[in-house]
Symmetry: C2
Subunit: 303 residues, 2 copies
């Protein structure tokens, strides 16, 4: 992987930004702030913030440059939204899960009321840190609109509602695809698009980045369904085999494991083509290796 | 009340904006969208959006003018944040309340998972509609920062966490004041300040509006404690006597009803003075009657 060092540096960078953005656990209300840090700073792939940095780099924001500072804010914002959604999805009234990223979920480690407030406060913090990005205000406002659309009832929250409604019911492949496009695809897409917006991407670049993000989200999800069916809990760091236990329709239950794998390969090829077209259209200052490596990781990861 | 017709027109206006901003209940996921509308469009005083309009009018955005269009977005945003907070505060793991604005709470009328998602989606929608305000992007970004600060762990969410931690415990007047400043004061203050920001308020006007919003929030809360202790459930449209039943320290339990009333009167006098100073400093195009009427309503209301 050509960009491993760059990705490691960005991962450390977003963790540092999150550490600084999240209130200190000694600041009142201490329990809430401690739980917010527990939820957002634990182990994690940091796929979404890495995508934001990579999209920015593709448009000419070299890692470590001053131009990358605005990306820090979008990277932290998208990870905070992701972290909040995990906390709320794990709640007893939702997916009722006790394990996340190899640790007790927030409502288990703390309590249910705190978990609700942690999610609420992380979402607010996400928009706050994004709105503080040192970029032209019009780009900042566009990024806020992008994130809000991805997180709301036509995106992530709506996808979770569809997912719950579909649990135990018979669903078509179209239903499952539409649900995932909202539940996980929208935020992954926004992560890529925001990286472009904050680097002043032209409209056609935003369209190209949106398509890359959308395909990447789709590939990520098919891979997720395959992992849930085939990997074990220790490898995943979250409960494996949950889809089947909950009677959920997935790419695997609807297409079979082989069918899901060949669908994933087809998406991977489309994604490669979209990335190559984007790389070819960019000026020489754009660096798309990291975006390509992340795309490969998303569809070929082990957990 | 000099501005009754204006306030009624603004109330109708923000309701129309909310109606248009909220997804149609026939759009999937229907249950989520129906519940979002139930939560945000029910009866309500609309104090916060009215404050936003009134602050804008004080800076020269006559009701119904094109300049007032940006205020629509901030008014809707602050009401959506308020509505989301009520839905989550009423959850079984939080205040566990079955009645709100005279109707079953969202988790009772729908279910708990839907109520969690309704709150989450309303918060995202709030930031989205605010970021679409037709105002200079720098003012929009400043308004987003203001709202995020007020809604987060150093504002509303943090106040709710403190409130829950204080339930059943002995608290001082300082504790209670700090909790309310975060739980309800911060958002009321932001409602006033955002109206100014979107009208291009100068720094000293923002400071003046912030002080007015802060005093108004304080007066509102002391009045709230008095109403909880003295009014009945039918009048309030929410469960009365809850503070005492839950063993909460309030302005009434700490100061007695007479003490709370005289404290409220003192706050009302400070607020009048702040409003008069602000009115005197404004150019002739500013109209502060509505702001003054809202201040009077907040501290003298019957429910």
């Amino acid at each position: 992987m050509r960009s491993k060092a760059t990705l490691d540096a960005w991962r450390a960078r977003v963790d540092a930004v999150l550490d600084e953005t999240l209130p200190d656990a000694r600041e009142a209300p201490q329990r809430l702030h401690g739980a917010m840090r527990y939820a957002a700073l634990g182990e994690g792939k940091r796929l979404r913030p890495l995508l934001t940095y990579a999209a920015g780099a593709a448009l000419g924001a070299p890692p470590g440059s001053a131009a990358a500072d605005a990306l820090d804010h979008a990277a932290a914002a998208v990870e905070l939204i992701h972290a909040y959604s995990l906390v709320h999805d794990d709640l007893p009234a939702m997916d009722d899960d006790a394990l996340r990223r190899g640790r007790p979920t927030v409502h288990v480690a703390f309590d249910e009321a705190t978990a609700i407030l942690v999610g609420d406060a992380l979402q607010g913090l996400a928009f706050g840190v994004l709105a503080e990005a040192p970029a032209p205000a019009s780009a900042v406002a566009a990024a806020v609109r992008e994130l809000a659309r991805a997180a709301g009832s036509r995106g992530m929250c709506g996808g979770q509602a569809l997912d719950m409604a579909m649990t135990g019911a018979t669903s078509t492949l179209d239903d499952v695809a539409a649900m995932h496009r909202m539940k996980t695809g929208a935020l992954i897409e926004a992560a890529v698009v925001m990286g472009g917006l904050l680097r002043g991407a032209a409209d056609d670049d935003v369209v190209a980045l949106r398509r890359i993000g959308s395909l990447l989200g789709l590939g990520f999800q098919i891979k997720d369904d395959l992992l849930d069916a085939e990997a074990d809990t220790a490898t995943l760091g979250k409960t494996a085999g949950k889809d089947e236990a909950q009677g959920k329709s997935t790419y695997v239950t609807l297409l079979g494991a082989d069918g899901a794998r060949s669908r994933l390969e087809a998406v991977g090829r489309e994604l490669d083509a979209a990335l190559q077209a984007f790389a070819a259209s960019r000026a020489p200052d754009g660096r798309t290796e990291a975006l390509a490596d992340l795309a490969a990781m998303a569809v070929r990861r082990a957990r």
